[in-house]
Amino acid sequence: MEVLYILVPAALFLSGLAVTMFVLAVKNGQFDDLDADAMRFLDD
């Protein structure tokens, strides 16, 4: 079970990465308009 000593930090690192991306996305205003982007693909 010693593999957990690698897997747990790896998992934590990955979720930390995800949270960082999310924080950046929010700060960039990517979630300000939830309607237009949901439909934008219809326009292509």
Binding site: M1, L4, V8, A11, L12, S15, A18, V19, F22, V23, V26, K27, G29, F31, D32, D33, L34, D35, A36, M39, R40, L42, D43
Partner: protein, 704 residues
């Protein structure tokens, strides 16, 4: 970005889908001076970054209008509100995302620990997982939990108890209990409960905040659009001036696609006007000479000249804007009834939780804390703190769409329990304009009479004269010229071809107006203020609802009687002065009636104020003077039903929300107090109940 770049925020109407978004963005980017344009469909706004020297706002607005989008620059106050909303929503979303991610991870760790209890787990991993849960949970509680802790602290320091207080105490207790148990090395910690609790609550708050800003944006939009510039006839020449330079009495030229810059009266020409921004009426209305025009409406087709009657802050648009803003702010302020009840409720929860805690204390500190936390968490005062304001907001919004502006929630609550409806006659049940009901020509041809009427009444502004002019203007009679003089209070007189011609009232005459030539009567006319065509049907509907109807009028008794028979109202009284009407209303109230009053707002002021619910008819003039809590924005009687329906829908919504909440609490609180519900289940149940109540409030418009 350019040093001279400036931000412009526009509110847009007519925006429905992504292709609209693309069209608007492309159109705006094509304007000179525009560096960047971004449209937000959720908020129905466009954010422009422009070079101020090159950018012409009015032209851009007009280009948008031609493409079918009504745009308006947001006022500074609205921009600030808007930025505040954005900031708050982003902060909330951030906390929501972080708590969600952590909650998921902590949950996985606790699943591992839980399974480990059955299958066995090496104590070093057990300690590792517990420690990890602790480390991950701490920032969530401190950072994400601050969303509840800071308001709770603020409320407490103002000696108030809000729903945030029990939430904060519950969260804090769960966390501290877990920390203590971690250091003492006992079996159970509740870090998963704490994070899931924060996450579930934040989801509820985020949805609520989205709903609120949506309602606010639609109200912003509704305030409509007033053009920035207007074309005016001054000294015979056509000049373009800024709207702020318009003066009362100016002649403004209107054209297809332009907005009406001020309140006024149409003088010449014919236009179709889209008044949807002001009255909610979706079909364009035809307007001819002497019809009133409202600032903020759009000319749909045709051309006309308009005389300005009110400018700036005196226009109906500005008044309506001020009214709506007032309504908004009064709702935003704390200390309303629902807020008070919610804080009492929160206090009650604290007391119950404390009692429950001491009740369970003999069993053990840990169990007692857990049960108390469950009670704190599971109770849901959302129906009071959240659903009632939201229901009121929805009512205001749907009301405006249907031509009713309700200024306070008390009158909405009263509307469905009305037993009596008192109506004013002139301008309410009737059109408010005299119409010709009878004419007699005595042995004279129509042409002779027509010629005389036209020369005498051509320049007279009395309503009777205007009606007569309309009647005879198409007859093609020969044009006469004469020196006309007014006989004050009676009519007008002229010497035509050596004969003295008089038009006006005559004592002893049968008609209201007569035409005499050398004392001999040639014609006479009777006028009556016609009953609105929709009135009889409406009266029928009102009676079906079990309302007792009364007609009170300042007009003569016989005319009041005639009108009330025409529309089918049994209780009527004429010769009523404004104070008499108020006394009548008070007398009815003493008999135990709940009285609604429908008046035109001008001379019904005292009665409107005396009634339980006063509703004022929406003439351009009445918006200012109305002391009524309810304003009917569309002309005619059609919005009366909308008003009554709205009251019913509001009541239904409120009572079902309250019912839901009471039912939920009746089940949940005893369950939590008896210790069968774990804090985690409580943390999931409470936001679900909140959500159910919020969704219920948002359904208000479907109940109409």
């Amino acid at each position: 970005m350019d040093a001279t770049a400036e931000e412009v925020l526009l509110s847009l109407d007519g925006l429905h889908c992504v292709s609209c978004v693309n069209r608007v963005e492309q159109l705006l980017r094509g304007r000179p001076g525009v560096l960047e344009a971004a449209v937000n469909l959720t908020r129905k706004q466009a954010r422009l970054s422009v070079r101020a020297q090159e950018f012409e706002l009015p032209e851009a607005l007009e280009a948008l209008a031609q493409a079918g989008f009504t745009a308006r620059r947001l006022s500074e106050k609205q921009v600030r509100q808007n930025e505040k909303d954005t900031r708050e929503q982003r902060a909330l979303l951030l906390k929501l995302g972080i708590s969600g991610c952590v909650a998921a991870n902590v949950m996985l760790l606790s699943i591992a620990l839980y399974i480990g209890q059955f299958q066995g787990i090496e104590s070093e991993f057990k300690r590792l997982f517990q420690g990890l849960s602790f480390v991950l949970t701490t920032p969530v509680v401190l950072f994400c939990g601050s969303h509840f802790a800071i308001p709770a602290w603020k409320a407490l320091s103002n000696r108030q108890v809000t729903i945030d207080v029990p939430i904060t105490i519950g969260l804090g207790a769960t966390y501290l209990l877990s920390v203590v148990s971690y250091y003492r090395g006992t079996e159970h910690q509740y870090f998963d409960t704490a994070t899931a609790f924060v996450f579930a609550l934040l989801v509820g708050r985020y949805l609520q905040s989205l709903g609120m800003s949506r309602v606010r944006n639609s109200l912003d939009l509704l305030l409509g659009l007033r053009p920035e510039r207007a074309r005016v006839l001054r000294g015979g020449a056509e000049v373009e001036v800024g709207v702020e330079a318009l003066e009362v009495g100016d002649l403004v030229l209107l054209e297809q696609g332009l907005g009406v810059p001020a309140d006024g009266t149409l003088m010449e020409g014919e236009v179709e006007v889209d008044e949807s921004s002001m009255t909610g009426e979706s079909l364009p209305l035809k307007k001819g000479p002497r019809d009133p025009l409202l600032a903020g409406t759009q000319v749909f087709s045709g051309q006309a000249a308009m005389r300005v009657d009110a400018v700036g802050a005196k226009t109906t648009l500005s008044r309506l804007a001020a009214l709506i803003e007032e309504t908004q702010e009064s709702r935003m302020g704390e200390g309303k009834l629902s807020g008070k009840v919610a804080s009492m409720f929160s206090g009650l929860i604290l007391v119950i939780a404390l009692l429950v805690f001491f009740w369970w204390l003999p069993v053990g500190l840990e169990k007692a804390t857990l049960v108390a936390v469950s009670v704190l968490v599971i109770t849901c005062p959302c129906a009071l703190g959240l659903a009632l304001p939201l229901a009121y907001w929805m009512a205001v919004r749907t009301g405006i769409e249907r031509g009713v502006l309700v200024k306070d929630e008390a009158s909405l609550e009263q509307t469905p329990v009305l037993t009596d409806l008192v109506m004013d006659k002139t301008g309410t049940v009737t059109v408010g304009r005299p119409e010709l009901i009878r004419e007699e020509h005595h042995r004279r041809s129509e042409e002779e009479i027509s010629a005389l009427v036209q020369v005498l009444e051509k320049e007279c502004s009395h309503p009777f004269a205007r009606t007569l002019m309309n009647r005879y203007s198409a007859s093609g009679a020969p044009e006469l010229t004469a020196e006309v003089e007014a006989v004050p209070g009676r009519g007008r007189r002229a010497l035509i071809e050596g004969r003295e011609v008089f038009i006006g009232t005559h004592s002893g005459g049968t008609g209201d107006i007569e035409l005499t030539v050398d004392g001999e009567r040639w014609a006479c006319w009777s006028f009556e203020d016609a009953v609105r065509p929709e009135a009889p049907v409406l009266i029928e509907k009102l009676k079906d609802r079990g309302l007792r109807l009364h007609l009170l009028s300042g007009d003569r008794q016989d005319r009041t009687e005639r009108v009330s028979q025409q529309i089918g109202i049994e209780n009527y009284a004429g010769n009523q002065l404004p104070d008499d009407k108020a006394r009548r209303v008070a007398a009815l109230q003493q008999e135990g009636a709940v009285v609604g009053l429908l008046g035109d707002g001008v001379n019904d002021g005292p009665a409107l104020a005396a009634a339980d619910v006063g509703a004022a008819m929406g003439h351009a003039a009445s918006v200012a003077t109305a002391s009524a809590p309810v304003l009917l924005l569309r002309p005619g009687l059609e919005p009366v039903m909308a008003w009554l329906d709205l009251g019913k829908a509001y009541r239904k919504t409120v009572s079902s929300s309250l019912g839901l909440s009471v039912l939920y609490n009746l089940i949940a609180v005893p369950a939590a107090a008896s210790g069968v519900v774990s804090p985690l289940v409580a943390a999931i149940a409470m936001p679900l109940a909140s959500l159910a109540v919020v969704v219920n409030s948002l359904q208000l418009s479907r109940r109409l």
